[in-house]
Assembly symmetry: none
Homo-oligomer: 209 residues x 7
Amino acid sequence: MYLKYLDEKLPVKETGTTTVGLVCKDGVVVAAEKKSTLGYLVASKESEKIFPIDDRIAMTIAGVSGDAQTLVRYMRAELKLFEVENKRKISVKGAATLLANILQSNKIFPYYVQLIVAGFDDSGPAIFSLDAIGGLEEEKKFFSTGSGSPIALGVLEDGYKPEISVEEGARLAIRAIKAAIERDIGSGGKAIDVAKITKEGISIERHEL
Amino acid sequence: MYLKYLDEKLPVKETGTTTVGLVCKDGVVVAAEKKSTLGYLVASKESEKIFPIDDRIAMTIAGVSGDAQTLVRYMRAELKLFEVENKRKISVKGAATLLANILQSNKIFPYYVQLIVAGFDDSGPAIFSLDAIGGLEEEKKFFSTGSGSPIALGVLEDGYKPEISVEEGARLAIRAIKAAIERDIGSGGKAIDVAKITKEGISIERHEL
Amino acid sequence: MYLKYLDEKLPVKETGTTTVGLVCKDGVVVAAEKKSTLGYLVASKESEKIFPIDDRIAMTIAGVSGDAQTLVRYMRAELKLFEVENKRKISVKGAATLLANILQSNKIFPYYVQLIVAGFDDSGPAIFSLDAIGGLEEEKKFFSTGSGSPIALGVLEDGYKPEISVEEGARLAIRAIKAAIERDIGSGGKAIDVAKITKEGISIERHEL
Amino acid sequence: MYLKYLDEKLPVKETGTTTVGLVCKDGVVVAAEKKSTLGYLVASKESEKIFPIDDRIAMTIAGVSGDAQTLVRYMRAELKLFEVENKRKISVKGAATLLANILQSNKIFPYYVQLIVAGFDDSGPAIFSLDAIGGLEEEKKFFSTGSGSPIALGVLEDGYKPEISVEEGARLAIRAIKAAIERDIGSGGKAIDVAKITKEGISIERHEL
Amino acid sequence: MYLKYLDEKLPVKETGTTTVGLVCKDGVVVAAEKKSTLGYLVASKESEKIFPIDDRIAMTIAGVSGDAQTLVRYMRAELKLFEVENKRKISVKGAATLLANILQSNKIFPYYVQLIVAGFDDSGPAIFSLDAIGGLEEEKKFFSTGSGSPIALGVLEDGYKPEISVEEGARLAIRAIKAAIERDIGSGGKAIDVAKITKEGISIERHEL
Amino acid sequence: MYLKYLDEKLPVKETGTTTVGLVCKDGVVVAAEKKSTLGYLVASKESEKIFPIDDRIAMTIAGVSGDAQTLVRYMRAELKLFEVENKRKISVKGAATLLANILQSNKIFPYYVQLIVAGFDDSGPAIFSLDAIGGLEEEKKFFSTGSGSPIALGVLEDGYKPEISVEEGARLAIRAIKAAIERDIGSGGKAIDVAKITKEGISIERHEL
Amino acid sequence: MYLKYLDEKLPVKETGTTTVGLVCKDGVVVAAEKKSTLGYLVASKESEKIFPIDDRIAMTIAGVSGDAQTLVRYMRAELKLFEVENKRKISVKGAATLLANILQSNKIFPYYVQLIVAGFDDSGPAIFSLDAIGGLEEEKKFFSTGSGSPIALGVLEDGYKPEISVEEGARLAIRAIKAAIERDIGSGGKAIDVAKITKEGISIERHEL
């Protein structure tokens, strides 16, 4: 029922979206454009789609904004709680598994999202993709979500090399998202956000188009 | 189920509506026309669509009147409670996040609304848009909701300038809503309400057509 | 049946499109952006949407490309035939009526289009809008078609003045289409085409974005 | 009706397909992979998807094999007839327009195809894309059809440069199709066919994977 | 409409069927089991599914018996006519193309069949597969049709070798069909028919199970 | 409802998949390819589909990833609990029956999966297949799940012999999955995982393609 | 809803099945073939379809395996409980009534089964048939369930005589199931299981085909 409303009746913002995540030798890169839509209307050209949820872990969101933002708020609270209770930071895999469990346990009225959890922990850089009901996959190279993802994947398949540095990875991520913006009507906006996550932490830069 | 009744069976008032909100250098402006409909019938030409919910925060409503008015009552009560419990006023962002949580937690039987929360707090002027299930976006320039919003957005895209004053913003808001009234059957009525929110508080004026 | 295929199955290019037409004191202006789509994919960023069909008459197209282009080819042939048979040019109203008849006579398997016929003849400047089954309306001020038309109409309602000159009209048309490109995911591309039709004939200019 | 059968009942081969076409400074390049499918089954790993229809004009096909192959047979016969009747070769644009007319005149029971017509004539290299009901677009840079086209377009958007040579174009086309094969379940097979069309004529090479 | 009756209303015999065809170094082999069904009922355990249509060309049929048998009769008559008119036998490719044209020209009310045309002509052994609307593919190695074809293809993919002899090919074909009979409820019967087509002509043998 | 979402709306990863399991004289073999899909897109080429759930018991998964992974996590926890409570390892049959009960008790909102539970216990090697609502079958020879299973079953029907050794069984399993990868668009990836389960425990090897 | 899933989406094993039950003068006979299906695929050739649930009572199952097997597990537990609580064995009629109550109470999400409960108690031999929602009928002569039941009933109508002995009844049951296997694509497998229930208890024999 619920999903049917989304399309047909309810005025709900969606992030058509292109997000990408790359595993690099010294960290991970995640990037996203900034457009959100409400049916055929551009609802925003300045949407946030990359959210730090811990010192060295970030999420990217695609899908229905209200659902995705709620999950970000949950995860931030859960990770803080984890740290307090366990006196240590959660691993990237731990955060992704926690999120998968939240998604799966809501599968009857699912969150309409596609997510990337990316971060850097004691095991080094790691990226996980999650679908709407908690399907979880560790990505050893790269991943992309949202309506523009097939286009971005074309660029990544063609240009990704193992042992890529975070700097090179960020440039490749921008090229992938630029191509998606050119060809996907659900992606766009005025800038691309690029987050580099290394052992130093998360730095998010805005790349004007 | 519920939404299906709305269209097909239940005699329910809806605000087809055009509302706009603009961030100005010295405050925010929100404006709305005053028509509401019941099916194809004009139910009222004097509907209120702008509601102060705190000294310097207002909401605009679009969608099903009964849902939206309930949310206004909730918010007024919650903000009073917040002030009592915390001995301070809530920020605009805090009010908007609270409203987003209410909307998201009702997503199985959602409120059929599109809302703007606008206000002035210690950080200055701020506008947030919310969709029916709590998708929340801070608007740095302007936003519009309701059936007439594409038309109003045309005027705002064309005429908005950063660092606009509240006075100029009010005039631009009126022009945007006038254009929407001309071209959207869901918008109309005898007057336009315009609220200016500055550090002095909220002042709502009626602009006769 | 046929229309159902268009949406659900057939790989068919559509011009989501924003086109506008304005009646000016010394001629008419028509303008259009240049994006065409294939589902969610941008099929082209350089689509032609303004077609001269006679010395001083042009058509703009919105909808399914294959249908609209066919109508352009028909009209060009028909207007040549008219000239040969009648030893005079057809009037703008005559051309629009002819096109309406073609559309109406195909209403069982309709052309999936929204059209503007604009031109300059002995009676001066004239603009006609046509829907998919031949609904014909003379526009005394301005008109807009396509998915971005509500946004463009916002700008035109706000900015159009009677007795506008072709030069001013062209500038207003560009502002209207720019606003639509900003807010309609079906409109875009790299440039705006603007045609000025005066008693001197048709001149089409490309306005880079 | 007919299209409904295609999906639900009739055992019909489809070329999920990725084809690309590029305009180069000294000719055009078209390329395609070689997989065809029958529902979830791989029907062939050696399908032909590039068909010369004249000395210097070729077609690529995507969609339902039976429909596309029929169009190839029509076009070959029509172009021979044209040459006999007109004592000259048809132009690339002429061939594409002829094909558009065939497609449009069958739109009630449409051919379920997506086509590229590419060639070299007195005006130089030219590429046209056609959709199922004859929507025709001259492509100034490149185009791609079929289920893998978004992925291929990613590579082409990222890697295409104006004034590319046919040799470079062929390498880029192969990279684009390779990426599509990696990520599109409808594309694959054992080799990529690449056709270079220059003023010398058409040469098709098989690039083993 | 017609196809809908087949499933739901009309009592029509179908050959669920497994047929296979293999290209061998000295000829071609086609084989088929002998069950036909009427809904869930086994209509026959002795159906013919291999039909010689010329001295050295045979067809296998899968799908609706009445449709397929009609096509066999057409082809036999057409090939005789061809021989009389042209004073020579048709090539295997010629026969297959002729059949493709018949199927394509009936695509509005299609023949519900999947066919293999296999034979030996001056160019040596050749196999063509045809789908319901005339999609035609030359098979360089092997092909299989009908509900049991995925299972048979498993055996053929695993066991086929280039330069296989007709004798070996016949044994592999029998193994493929046996596996399909074991696992496909639409395939069965009391025996497998195997046709060897070499330059000597067609010999059909019955292999009891 | 839920299943309807899976196909039409929700972005959910599925393992089109081919998995096989064989009972051998000295153990069991399970094998799987490594592709997962998201609609027409290849979501991963490195998916895990074989999961040890105890020292000598493993599960293979096919269907919706999020559902299957959840069941793996449940089973691992349940088997640990069983061991603690009962001071002994569960039998393969016991594990399969436990899983069947979990599946059956969720049949209103079923897990969209097809599973094999394979292992070695005091009774020797054993394989059980389970469908989405807990239909449980002990397989005395071999089984296969997923979109490529008919093709794999062809190879297994043709090549399986009782009293096969684990080494031979592993080679046959690889041949079966290779054939499925060739002919099933839902199966693929860069390697085949093969698990041999004997009384020594589970060893999983990666077989590069 | 649930039943719709079974047909269209869920990979669920079904026993197309032929089972028969005969009342004989000195006991009852039940028999079943051993094939189960998954759509068009033969999922197993060695399915169990006769289950003893007490010393002298057995059930046969047809329909969805997961549902039927669950009912067998329930019944075994319930009958043990009955014996403990009542210090006596339940009657055949009591067992059948208990099962009918379970089926009826789940009619909102029904078990997709057709069942025979057969046994010998103080009142002598007795057979009861049950449908999916608990419709219960005592069969005084014979009964048959599953897709092959019309064919089996043909043989039973023809050959059954009152006062038949268990030995003769077993031979008749085998003939009935053999005929069904020949003509029903949902029935088959490598053997027929035949259970004779007399005052001595249950003996199940396997009759190879």
